[in-house]
Amino acid sequence: MTDAGHRIRLVTGDAGKAFTDGDPLVHLDALRRVALRLTRRPGDAEDLVQETYLRAYRGADRFLPGTSLRAWLCRVMRNAFLDGRRREGRNPVDAVADLEEVAAAEHGGGLLRGDAELDLLRRVVASEIEGALRSLPEDARMVVLLDVEGFAEAEIAVALDCAPGTVKSRLHRARLALRRRLADYRR
């Protein structure tokens, strides 16, 4: 194969290949989508994404070839985000407090009954989705977002640095909390 052929394959990455040895930049859009919901401000999100790539390239030797590159990049991003919060003197994400917060969100209001909820979900608008996501603790937000991005449970576990067995229940609780928050907008 010519040098040029190699280069294109590596940069565009074919399915499956991109995880293990593709160009990390192909995940930029997804990382920025998640970063925007973590930081809430576009400028902060861009700084976070840049910091993530900087750390990823500097710590490239810690990436295990053959594992999911995007999951690892998200883990690097979560750590960068938490470090930023510590620098600002805010608490790092606390898993126990998070669960309590999710539980509070779950009890913040019930789901709408029957067709009312389905109608709501059909007509939900962007600002409501953003608002509902914001009401979730960061890790719950990340579980929901990474799931929508198509991450497998094992990848989410890597990204969140948690036990794979807990991802399914975290996701379930977070999505339920999200639906309750969305219902709150229509009360």
Partner: protein, 259 residues
């Protein structure tokens, strides 16, 4: 299957990720359970709402450039031990050395290093088009639709060459060359993808001194780059076809842009 079993698998069922047997089991339960049907529909709608809201959101080009610059400046690629990536980095390092020599060693070397840096940037712009899932803002094979799309988006008016021989226009978008807004035009040539970039000539280092000069060709990182100018606008054609073929196409395009 009972409610607990069905609910655990609802999300995967909605996404079609279950094997046929389990799918049939979940469906059989849903047929007889209105509560679980509601849950399945709510999950599906929540997925649709989240995806519709998030899926196509792209990072701005300015961020893409920032990150690419950081990555270029900062070292080794992810996934050590893959020799095919090394030449690119080695050449980037060489370009850096060249740039330094150019700075120290007189005007000729300086111009050369500027041309190298420009070629590097042009190849990166081409790679960005190749690597992006949605590289084009206007997808059209008709140059009469693509050209007006740039109006108001650029402070110069590029010529947009249409189909010519085996060359097929795919569409365009706005990008950057050396931090200045540029027209990015995507073409297909058989199985190859070519990118034509148009950007302001004045103030862009690394271009040939004479505006009417013949297109000048250079190989960078496995790609061929041909640049020329037409009036105030500079053009660059980038692709992985042979240098001779790319130059032949560029001469033809240059004639169109200079008409």
């Amino acid at each position: 299957m009972d409610c607990t079993g069905a609910r655990e698998r609802l999300r995967e069922r909605v996404r079609g990720g279950l094997d046929p047997e389990t799918t049939a089991g979940v469906d059989a339960h849903l047929a007889g359970c209105a509560d679980c049907r509601h849950e399945a529909e709510a999950e599906r709608l929540l997925d649709a709402a989240l995806r519709g809201h998030l899926a196509e959101e792209r990072a701005p080009d300015s961020l893409r450039r920032r990150v690419a610059a950081v990555v270029r400046a900062d070292g080794a690629p992810v996934g050590p031990g893959r020799p095919e990536r090394r030449p690119a980095w080695a050449m980037a390092a060489a370009a850096l050395v060249l740039a330094l020599l150019g700075f120290l060693g007189g005007r000729a070397a300086e111009r050369r290093s500027a041309a190298e840096a420009l070629a590097d940037e042009l190849v990166s712009d081409h790679l960005r088009v190749l690597a992006s899932a949605h590289p084009l803002d206007v997808e059209s094979t008709d140059s009469h639709q693509v050209k007006p799309w740039f109006e108001g988006r650029l402070d110069f008016a590029p010529v947009v060459p249409g189909d010519r021989g085996e060359l097929r226009l795919a569409g365009g978008s706005v990008g950057y060359v050396m931090d200045r807004k540029a027209a990015v035009l995507a073409y297909a040539l058989r199985s190859h993808r070519l990118t034509l970039l148009a950007f302001p000539r004045d103030g862009t280092p690394g271009l040939s001194a004479q505006p009417g000069a013949a297109p000048s060709r250079r190989a960078r990182r496995g790609f061929e780059v041909v640049t020329w100018s037409a009036g105030d606008v500079a053009y660059a054609l980038v692709g992985d076809v042979s240098g001779a073929e790319l130059e032949r196409i560029a001469v033809d395009l240059a004639a169109q842009t200079r008409r």
